[in-house]
């Protein structure tokens, strides 16, 4: 869609907080994730329709606007939910660590891995194998030509933007039992998302998949082996990729 969107960290945090509120009346994590995703999707849709729509092709404008929205959301969350960290309860059946070969793994983290894989596969099939996905890809590749053959590009883009926002919001809730909801969560998450996207390549699902794997492994092992250089290890691969392969590992366009 060629939009430089920096609100994802803030949408993730907004999702987490909405999830917290939902769970106060409906103590079910999955339901909270669904409702939170829907709410954040509506918000994302409004942002796309009312603001980003006018900034097509203006990358600098998009960066500034989305960053501004991210800051506003962060302070909005602070006003509504306060400054203290709020825990998100882990579903009861996933609270105990799982023992595999003498090592303890938190069951909930394994569940998150499974959810992530399922979401990834569904997205992949959706984009690559369905008619709707083909229309989206066509819209991204050549907007004017896609319009000329009758694809409602505008509507599709709004839908895709909503979907992205929904995933960020639901992600905030699903990540909640690990991360909880706290001011600053947005700034903690955004760099990770950016690294994954830039490393893997903008506009490529496989790229995002590979990028997140590389980031996860490099970071985990880096921290274990060279704990003092945690941030260097996290950002160095991204800098190298941008320097030598600006479009990322699998990307279609320059990042």
């Amino acid at each position: 869609m060629r939009i430089a969107n920096l609100t994802h960290g803030a949408l993730y945090m907004l999702g987490a907080y909405i999830g917290v509120s939902v769970m106060r009346t409906l103590p079910n994590l999955w339901l909270a994730a669904l409702l939170s995703g829907l709410t954040v999707a509506v918000f994302g849709g409004l942002v796309e329709r009312l603001i980003l729509r006018r900034l097509g092709g203006n990358v600098l404008g998009q960066v500034l606007v989305t960053l501004g929205i991210a800051f506003i959301l962060a302070d909005f969350c602070l006003v509504v939910w306060g400054g203290d960290p709020i825990p998100v309860p882990t579903p009861a059946f996933l609270q105990q660590p799982v023992r595999i070969a003498g090592l303890a793994f938190p069951a909930y983290r394994l569940a998150v891995v499974v959810i992530a894989v399922i979401v990834g596969i569904v997205l992949f099939v959706f984009i690559e194998k369905t008619r709707l996905g083909a229309m989206i890809r066509a819209g991204v590749d050549d907007r004017d030509m896609a319009r000329a053959v009758g694809i409602p590009v505008s509507l599709l883009f709004t839908t895709v933007f909503c979907l992205g926002a929904a995933l960020a919001g639901a992600g905030g809730v699903i990540g909640g039992p690990i991360m909880s909801a706290y001011p600053g969560l947005d700034a903690d998450m955004l760099p990770l998302a950016l690294i994954v996207v830039i490393l893997g390549g903008v506009g490529s699902l496989i790229g995002a998949f590979v990028g997140s794997f590389i980031t996860g492994f490099v970071y985990t092992f880096g921290v274990a082996l060279l704990p003092d250089l945690a941030y260097v290890i996290l950002f160095l691969p991204m800098i190298l990729v941008i320097a030598f392969r600006p479009r990322g590992l699998f990307g279609k366009f320059a990042a």
Binding site: A74, P85, S180, A224
Partner: protein, 411 residues
């Protein structure tokens, strides 16, 4: 701007020369609070304002016979912003004394300005060297240095909890380094060994990586986290099934009352050390906690107690100088010679401007359905130098990642 400042300093100097005249005018005292009301540190910063307002309200906004006007600055937790806002408080609002700032980085960023403006400061931030090797003559701290609470805890771990081998983990900032260094030094001098040390970035989103590396053949782990990090670390620590294997103990900000009210049973029984607990039993604290609970429905913690303490120090000093805050030298001399009973217990100051006061070893318990830090042991009148001689203490470099050296790290 420069004209303003010059005019301010001239005015201030004139006030210092002619204290009686300006005092005789009976103007209100202009008190500044430099705090954080937006961003990640806002929770503590808002508590700072609430407690200070409560203190002033209890005294009918009058200290030592003079009305007090409060001006509040919000730094957002950004050091540069803190510097600008302090200047604004001084030059626009013409404050005569500042309480704050909240965080170490902001205190360091404002250090030069405090000196040049000769701003009377009662600080909350813990930066060690501001009252040690580079003491600021206008800076007084009624809370504690980074390691002031960690050093007694280290002795407690070695002598009372009989721990032999420990891990230290903290945020990768000066505050974390200083705390761990003090803890390690005292723990090892009492026969213990720190066998593993980890500093995680302040904004690390997930502690899984660090948790996976923790050694399990140890007796305890010292948590030197600030803000919400201790809270997140402990939840994940529990999730990894480590709680029953290795006993966590915490520094002064790891399990603050502000964090406790959102925690569950996983926090029960954890021992921490701090210069305050809402559970301290003295009449001043009981009144403070009761008033604060009534107004805000939760227990005051570290940050609320910090400004409540500083306000008591200000109050007592003003009584001593008969309300004459215009004589800055006289005020600073008085601050450093008073003894005052506060919510945290008796408080006095050393010649470097740092507090000498009780340090409490506390244990998380459930009381009336909520989690509290019950005091289980008190180290009376602890100074920033712990049991060391100040001269010898100050000959060493400031506590850091590498000093004192960690000699017993394994693998």
């Amino acid at each position: 701007m420069s004209l303003n400042r010059r005019r301010f300093i001239q005015g201030a100097a004139a006030a210092a020369v002619l204290p009686r005249i300006s005092f005789a005018q009976g103007n209100p005292i202009r008190l500044g609070l430099m705090t954080v009301k937006t961003g990640p540190l806002a929770s503590g910063g808002i508590d700072m304002e609430r407690a200070l307002v409560q203190y002033l309200k209890e005294k009918n906004n009058t200290l030592a016979g003079r009305k007090v006007e409060l001006f509040v600055g919000d730094s957002g937790g950004v050091p540069a912003q803190s510097r600008t806002k302090t200047q604004e408080l001084v030059e626009r609002d013409r404050i005569q004394l500042m309480i704050g700032p909240l965080d170490t980085a902001s205190a360091l960023a404002t250090d030069d300005y405090i000196r040049s403006a000769q701003l009377l400061t009662l600080s909350v931030a813990a930066a060690e060297d501001m009252t040690q090797r580079k003491p600021n003559p206008w800076f007084t701290r009624g809370t504690s240095t980074s390691s002031q609470c960690a050093m007694p805890l280290a002795e407690y771990c070695a002598k009372t909890l009989k721990m032999k081998r420990m891990i230290v983990i903290a945020d990768d900032i000066a505050y974390g380094h200083e705390m761990c260094a003090g803890f390690m030094r005292v723990f090892e001098e009492n026969g213990g060994k720190v066998v593993q040390r980890m500093f995680s970035p302040l904004t690390v989103p997930d502690y899984g990586t660090y948790l996976a590396q923790l050694k399990s053949d140890v007796d305890g782990i010292f948590l030197g986290f600030a803000g919400s990090n201790g809270f997140r670390f402990l939840r994940q620590y529990n999730e990894f099934g480590l709680m029953k294997k290795v006993t966590p103990v915490g520094g002064m900000t790891a399990l603050d009352e502000a964090v406790l009210r959102n925690m569950g049973d996983e926090a029960l029984g954890i021992v921490t050390s701090c210069w305050y607990s809402a559970e301290i039993q003295n009449p001043i604290n009981e009144k403070f906690v009761e008033g604060f609970r009534k107004e805000w429905k939760y227990d005051p913690g570290f940050y609320a107690a910090a400004t409540y303490t500083e306000a008591a120090v200000l109050d007592a000093t003003l009584q001593r100088v008969k309300g004459n805050i215009e004589d800055k030298q006289g005020f600073m001399k008085a601050v450093r010679s008073i003894k005052v009973d506060t919510c945290r217990g008796p408080v006095r100051f050393d010649e470097y401007g740092n507090v000498v006061g009780n340090i409490y070893i506390r244990k998380v318990e459930r009381k009336d359905g909520r989690l509290v830090n019950r005091v289980i042991h008190t180290y009376p009148n602890v100074s920033q130098f712990w049991t060391y001689k100040p001269e010898e203490f100050l000959k060493n470099p400031v506590y850091s990642r590498d000093f004192p050296p960690y000699k017993n790290l394994e693998g």
